[in-house]
């Protein structure tokens, strides 16, 4: 499925995105990028750096601050056969364009009985942890996952970022591609090991609907996405010291959720903790818990654990922000409650 790796290079998340875009744009003229500051600036979170000078302003278009206008325009252009890649600078801004996203981009294929195809990638930066407060720190995974007609992905590691962005671009359906700011490997943010990884130089596609076991284990399954995967891996190391062997699943796909991988893991570990950088209620922890409680109930030996932002807006001050966003320590704590039950 995931094509054989040939020559690789160590890239950041951001560079992985750029490479995906560059390679696809080179072979397909109908792809173009639209968004705020995607041109000369190269994307506030480095998703398009260099592409403007490579492809010119017709193919890498800066827009006014008119998200309804340009996301709506992407729909119209896609219906005509072009393949727009649109950037919504922060996912937090989705509310000014949500009608276009969920009532049109997501539904036109269905409402047209499959006669209109909308090959659009809506890429958007998610995540907090650097004190950008309530309107610039959200992930909103579930806000998109809830609504039919959208494929929603949130890869963690550069390898997946490149491969899934390529798949998203090649897909004839609208795809919401969420990249986590902290995982872009930007020079002006926290430097994480996870934001750097070996990436094949050739173009390759990773399926948009598959989770990935990123650490094998037998005592408990921890499911996370993006930064929560990173934190879960850190927690797993800590847990190992305590004699608990955690299996960590990187969700990668928010919608559809890869039930198979999760159910298989829980069938083995009999314990489940779901961790989410999104809000608790009606979030990833809800959906995955429900999947397992309805389809993998008999595998479970203990109550399911849920760890997420506790239904409060994200506070500005560092101490409070740290308190609400799950991290490896809280994961360890939560696991100890489940596994020792």
């Amino acid at each position: 499925m995931e094509t054989t790796i040939e020559k690789t290079k160590k890239l950041t998340g951001s560079k992985a995105m750029i490479q995906a875009l560059e390679q696809e744009m080179t072979i397909d003229d109908s792809i173009f990028i639209m968004g705020e500051d995607v041109g000369k600036y190269g994307g506030i979170f480095g998703s398009t750096t260099g592409l403007y000078s490579m492809f010119g302003k017709e193919r890498v278009m800066d827009t006014p601050i008119s998200e309804t206008g340009f996301i709506g325009a992407a729909i119209g252009a896609a219906a005509e056969g072009l393949r727009p890649v649109v950037e919504l600078m922060f996912v937090d801004f989705h509310g000014v364009a949500m009608d276009q996203i969920y009532n049109h981009m997501a539904k036109i294929q269905y409402m047209s009985g499959g006669r209109v195809k909308l090959p659009i990638v809506l890429m958007t930066a998610v995540g907090g942890g650097y004190s950008d407060a309530a309107q610039h720190s959200q992930t909103l995974y579930a806000s998109f996952g809830h609504l039919p007609g959208l494929k929603v992905v949130a890869p963690t590691f550069p390898y997946d970022i490149k491969g899934m962005l390529i798949s998203a671009i090649r897909d004839d359906n609208p795809v919401i591609f969420m990249f986590h700011k902290t995982l872009q490997g930007l020079g002006w943010m926290d430097q994480l090991e996870a934001s750097l990884g070996e990436v094949p130089e050739n173009a390759y596609a990773i399926p948009l609907n598959r989770a990935k076991v990123v650490k094998q284990g037998k005592d408990i399954t921890i499911v996370g996405a993006q930064m929560m995967t990173v934190e879960a891996l850190k927690a797993a190391e800590e847990l190992a010291k305590k004699g608990i062997d955690a299996e960590v699943i990187d969700l990668r796909s928010i919608k559809p959720i890869d039930k198979e991988t999760i159910l298989k893991s829980v069938a083995k570990t009999h314990h489940l903790l779901v961790v989410d950088e999104d809000y608790l209620s009606y979030g990833i922890t809800a959906e995955i818990s429900a999947i397992v409680a309805s389809e993998g109930f008999n595998s479970l030996n203990a109550p399911i654990g849920r760890l997420a932002i506790p239904d409060v807006p994200i506070p500005y001050s560092r101490v409070m922000e740290k308190f609400v966003i799950p991290n490896s320590e809280k994961i360890v704590e939560a696991v100890l409650k489940i596994v020792t039950v």
């Binding site: 008119s66 206008g69 729909i75 119209g76 009608d99 276009q100 409402m111 499959g114 006669r115």
Partner: protein, 353 residues
Amino acid sequence: MFINDCGHFLPLQALVILYINFSIMNNIRKKDLLWMYRVMKTSRYFEERMEKAYLEGKQPVFNIGAGPVPGEMHLSNGQEPAAAGMIVHLTKNDTVTATHRPHHEAIAKGVDLKKMTAEIFGKKTGLSKGKGGHMHLFDPNVKFSCGGIVGAGIPHAAGAALANKKRNTNWVAVAFIGDGATNTGAFHESLNLAALWKLPLIVVVEDNSWGISVAKKDSTSVPFNCIRAKSYDINGYYVKKNNPIEMYRDSKEAIDRARNGEGPSIIEIQTDRYLGHFQGDPEFYRNKDEVAALRAKDPIEKLKKKLIKESYITVQELSTIDSLIIKEVDKAYEFAKHSEYPKPEEALGDVFC
């Protein structure tokens, strides 16, 4: 006509254009006039039938979900000149987006009438196999679409215009909207984009004086939306008195400009909504006499008279056309009625391709 109401926002070429307009009026092609008559009449008859079909199963007690045509039904009787006078200039390559009140434009744009009717009847043979319904008609063959969210079609048309420009075609995109839609954010954002990028977009505002029960003057801070063209440094036109020929003229100019790379325009047409906002609307908010007065100056009847009076066509020929229209529409209804419903589980398909 822009001179009286929106003329002061036009650049100096206004007078030049005025001159050209008059010559267009004189040269308006018989073929075009007859085409306009035909599509207006088709739409009218189509909707008169729809009015009845919609009521089937909803009498004596009206229940919106009952009968062969359930759900909301927005008819455009009286508003046909907007569609006809604009779309006469378009080809299959030009894009049209419409609204919750889409039949007149759909018919003018050449949407497959049988499939459209079947769609409205919720049949498997419909444009969208019954998934869309009256507010969601899509016919990519003729580049037509519409939708139920006010204002939302404008950016789609802007996007089609962008695609047209990117591909170096001279194709245009036309967004038909109601007057109420000019107060949505989508209107403003799309027109700014289109003006900025000089896209071949025309926004046609059908000013029927109402947005459901709210009068235009109670929702729109300017009397004419063509004024708003100024906000984007584009041309604005106002077509008075529901006149299909004036609509023809201003549309021609706006489209020629768009095809020539001169950017977008707004055309507002003063038009009339004969029926309620939707079928079943009690219309407590408007005077019953109002409609009678509107119907008395019906643009289709007027055009008919004009065609005959100015000897474009004989009474005889016209009645042949009329009966052909009736036949075609009747056939579409027959087709719709006798088509099969989709299977329930077909609901699960077409979310993704």
